[in-house]
């Protein structure tokens, strides 16, 4: 049973608003985030949903200047790409934390703010 783009994205966004990072676990074991309505070659399969709460750091940068005023007002902030079993997640580093090194383990949580859910690593 295949899904749709909208259903997959809607589910993940709704889960984020509840504080959970919902990734898909497909029958072959692959963990996928952001979720897909269909995976090529797996059209008759249905993934299970799984909450991700940890990962390892792939890359980071601390942003001091941003072209958009709303984000500029939040500088400096650190962006991290986190890998969770091959699924990739963009997140913010918690403001009180030192920037972790590539390969370091981090825990992930979700903070709801004025513009919706933001994933925070600490």
């Amino acid at each position: 049973m295949t899904g749709t783009y909208r259903a997959a994205i809607d589910h993940a966004v709704a889960e984020l608003r509840q504080g959970r990072i919902a990734a898909q676990r497909w029958p072959d074991g692959q963990l996928v985030f952001y979720p897909r309505g269909i995976r090529l070659g797996h059209g008759n399969e249905t993934p299970n949903w799984e909450t991700v709460s940890t990962g390892t750091v792939v890359a980071s940068t601390t942003v001091h200047e941003h072209s958009h005023p709303e984000y500029q007002a939040e500088t400096p902030f650190t962006l991290l790409i986190v890998d969770a079993e091959g699924a990739r997640i963009m997140c913010r580093l918690a403001p009180d934390r030192a920037v972790p090194a590539v390969g370091d383990a981090v825990s992930l949580s979700v903070v709801s703010g004025a513009r919706g859910a933001v994933i925070v690593a600490s």
Binding site: H64, H66, S67, H68, M90, R115, G116, I119
Partner: protein, 386 residues
Amino acid sequence: MTVALAGSADLVPSLDTGDTTTFDLMAQVADAVLTDSGIEAGEIDGLVTSSMIEAPFMAASVLAEYLMVQPSFLQHVDLGGCTGVASVIRAATAIEAGLCETVLVLTAATKGVARAGAPLGPSTVAPGYKEATPQGIFDVPHGATGGIFAYGMLASVTAQQCNLDEHHTYGLLARARSAARSNSSALHHRDAVPTMDEYARSPITAAPLRRLDSAVSSGGASAVIVTSERRARRLDRRPVLIAGMGERHTHRSITNMPSLAASGGVDAAARAFAMAGLRPTQTQLAMIYDAFTYLIPRGLCEAGIASANSVGSVMAGDSGVAVNPHGGQLGCGHTGVSAGMSLVTAATRQVAGRAGAVQATSHDICFVSGTGGEMSTNAALVLVGG
């Protein structure tokens, strides 16, 4: 390979193109490239174009109609900074397939300061997210937008891989800006070369990038004519033969880049050199996509022109390989979607021996890279003098 670059033209980049439309930039650069090449307008039977902000739908048809051409091959290419190189590849492929013989390849970007909209931000993704992309929904709300953050992440990786310090990146900036002083069509032609002290005081944008590590955003246009070798040999100059072409496209958002240590540019370059039957180390002239200083060492290493050990001397110009001798985007300006084509036009002049004050001494074998998005789209050309 039986296809050649037969002419090139650029409009001088501008920090503010005001009310000028993309129609104007496209038409001006098209006329200039016909003049440069000596090819008649009536010979044009192919058109490849980048996007036009005035024409979100069927841009290539809109432009062909405006230019009053009725080509047998028509293509709109939308691959970010990779667009110029990828457009040449599409034109060459169409010629080889027999769909057309002489293709006008145009890229242009306006930069109207007064009418510039706000960059992509939360207001464009929050309520209407169902019409947005996954990147807009899952990445942008963190502030992961505007592109510089992604190149900050990539620069950290490159600095470690190539053992770079601020003297290396300053050296790249200084060489580009010095070259621009000799290049009358460069944005920074009249600007003093920044000092090391000015570079060290330049504010960090996204660590480790400083403001001065970014090529300055500007409006502009660049164009080439791609034609059969047979036609190119009847012109009044040395043909610039397209010997090798390659591409690899791996992601849109950097979040999904398979490895930040190696972009699709590695495979794009390997394919182009293999098609040309040349080794990367035979390169005499390297035109590397340089929206940021750090992309030069990265591009040289990913193409195999330099190694982590040799990249310092290649960057410094001590290896016999000329790197962006016209000043690149760091010297000439980053003309949006047209920036990648500005390296193709410069390469065309170099290989033909028509680059004037910025002509490289050895210019028979030239590598050109195109990099778009967040190292998302990657294309490469190997050009040889005919």
